[in-house]
Symmetry: C2
Subunit: 239 residues, 2 copies
């Protein structure tokens, strides 16, 4: 796993306790920290699914009492935000905006989507949240900066950054939750476009009948890049 920027004081401002000095090993010997907990949680979700993120299972995986986690995070929601921010940081590793703002936003969008797809189960629960943490600040800064450099007014830069990032996050989350489905369920969904939809009576569904041959092919892939380009295309015209 690549190094993820974990931020500085700004990140820790709302942690349960500030600077840690005393660390007491758990019964099983491991020494806890926020980072250890987040890493373990990400691995747990990736391996067992989103529903495995419970304080009890996390405690078991960490080898500590479940309630020890509350010494580091105020609630499971607080922990969830930390996990989400970890994800954002992972997607930003190595990213540098270039002079072409459209191309740069496009790459940012593709990166976020790739990062989310790499941890679909985390993405499905975290996409809608505002993490209020370091890595999210960095992403907002980059995106808004690109739109400002494109020539948008401050108000429009914020407005269109929101439209852009929500589109990316929304599609990423949708795709992620689809990826997270059980393989046989997903396969059945894919097949339905050639099976179920191909058997619909043409009299009742003339349009579906007309495009019948293209359904399976076009519905199988992801529309993400299409949508990204549609949105960026309109943005470029509005600047």
């Amino acid at each position: 796993m690549e190094h993820v920027d974990r931020g500085d004081q700004a990140d820790r401002a709302d942690r349960v306790v500030g600077e840690r000095r005393r660390r007491r090993p758990t019964k099983s010997g491991t020494v806890l920290s926020d980072d250890v907990i987040v890493d373990c949680a990400v691995r747990l979700i990736g391996h067992q699914g989103a529903e495995a993120l419970t304080v009890r299972k996390l405690g078991a995986a960490l080898g500590c009492d479940p309630t020890a986690i509350y010494r580091y995070f105020r609630s499971t929601d607080d922990l969830l935000l930390a996990i989400a921010d970890f994800l954002i940081g992972e997607t930003l590793v190595g990213y540098r905006p270039g002079p072409d703002w459209v191309a740069s936003l496009r790459e940012l969008g593709l990166r976020v989507r790739d990062g989310y797809l790499r941890h679909p189960r985390v993405a499905a629960i975290a996409a809608a949240r505002v993490t209020r943490r370091h890595n999210e600040f960095r992403a907002v800064e980059m995106g808004v900066s690109l739109l400002l450099s494109a020539g948008f007014s401050p108000a429009d830069a914020v407005r269109y950054y929101r439209a852009f990032i929500d589109t990316v996050l929304a599609h990423a989350a949708l795709e992620a939750s689809y990826t997270a489905l059980a393989p046989e369920v997903r396969a059945a969904d894919d097949r339905s476009w050639e099976e179920t939809y191909n058997t619909l009576p043409k009299a009742d569904y003339p349009a579906i009948g007309t495009v019948r041959r293209h359904l399976a092919e076009e519905m199988a892939g992801s529309p993400f890049e299409d949508v990204l380009d549609l949105v960026l295309e309109s943005l470029a015209r509005r600047v």
Copy 2:
């Protein structure tokens, strides 16, 4: 409540039992059925909020033992899908595509989104799934038909329908899962744009510093209509 098309046999194929003949009144006198349960669940969510959809509370609202629900639905997930199907039907009630395909698609998008927002918890779970049911067929037929009438080739009509509907569903789901959050959590997320983001050092985050005054306002609302227009604008240009 308006009449919602409940479909035919295809819908009922996976019900717990087939044709019901015997109906025994509950302790409180009401007679149960799948439709009664779904209606009650929808009302419950609408009235008491998202977190009210539990078998116990639903049982209380129906005036029956919570476990009676399992005579009609295999699990709460099964119930959720039935509710989702009901929802899709609801969003389509009274919808008629007009001669202007852009305006018609726009209205379809807004309708789907409104329907989802009215029951956010259901939407958050159901958006990623392909229901393969009656009301989904109707929606696909309408959308593809509109794009064909616009002049797109069959292949492009399918491709862009996918881009369009995924954008609508993805944003609706994102917004819905945000709406489904506990009120105090959502309030904290909202506040963060004026609080946390306004206190970030301008030296480290120059772009955020520049747009500071617009953050709270622009981030508070929904970018849905903006995105819808951005996508439709590009589509109209590509036809």
